[in-house]
Symmetry: C2
Subunit: 174 residues, 2 copies
């Protein structure tokens, strides 16, 4: 287990099989693309679940919730699609659940060790895909809520009696 | 700038004012609560935007997208609410945008330095709040999609002709 893996555990908060799965999926996808972590929005990830593994994806790929290059589709599937804006290449990785030997899940430590040592092709189904390039994140102007006085992104303002109102204030008034 | 801050920049991918704002908001909220990072789901954060600062929140508080203790409400506001499951205390922090001296935003480096050195009370509005305790994340059973054969969380399965189908397959068939 290298330093990066340990730092990733520290980010997630604990070690678990889900994190190891996300790590393997992300590494496989990155290896297929440029191998580089996304400093800004060079890469985009579309994740089809919001389980532990996505913290591995955030940490390893640099596709993070706060940068806007992490797109969540609530499909409940162990699938990530990574797209490289520079090369316009996309790759879809899926964790092959049925590859896990029976009974192994009962021993958490052994399961993690296995997940970190089994060859890619036994646990990862990978294919190149063409996808429409996702829109980059945009910085929006702000307005001031006429009721609480707090700042609100212009595109999230509601109008009540001709005044700009934030969503929480608007909902309180209903 | 201490080691943690540098590691947080490495996680986000770059240094920016938004990250510094999220750092100050998160630190202020954590200081009000136990001060401890969330290894598992001890803390929950409700964030009212998905901008850069949320990466600081993930990194510093341990409320991460993959652990399920990061709840996103798309209100476009610089507001985080953190809740401690142990003490049942909640705190709401809001960044006071109007405290930023005019013109400072034009000098990115100076703006970041200012954000990291100005006292809490000048930039953070903080109050204790009572909120309903958010549900912890749950692990769901899985089914197999009758079309692609991939695993799907049971609660995301659609039924077509009496067969379990994942959402992407179901959408392709429409």
């Amino acid at each position: 287990m290298d330093g990066t893996y340990k730092d990733m555990i520290a980010f997630h908060g604990h070690s678990c099989p889900g994190l190891a799965i996300g790590y393997r999926m992300t590494k496989a996808a990155l290896d297929f693309l440029s191998g580089l972590r996304s400093k800004d929005e060079e890469l985009v990830a579309i994740v089809e679940n919001n389980a532990c593994g996505v913290d591995a994806l955030q940490y390893i790929s640099g596709c993070t919730f706060g940068k806007g290059n992490l797109i969540f589709k609530d499909y409940g599937k162990q699938v990530y699609t990574l797209y490289d804006r520079k090369t316009k290449r996309g790759v879809r990785v899926c964790f092959m659940n049925r590859a896990v030997p029976q009974g192994l899940r009962n021993d958490r430590k052994k399961f993690i060790d296995w997940l970190l040592s089994v060859p890619d092709e036994e646990i990862i189904s990978l294919k190149e895909v063409r996808i429409d390039e996702p829109e980059p994140a945009r910085i929006m102007k702000s307005a001031e809520c006429a009721f609480c006085g707090e700042r609100v992104m212009e595109t999230r303002v509601r109008e009540i009696n001709g005044k700009p109102v934030c969503i929480p204030c608007a909902e309180k008034m209903q």
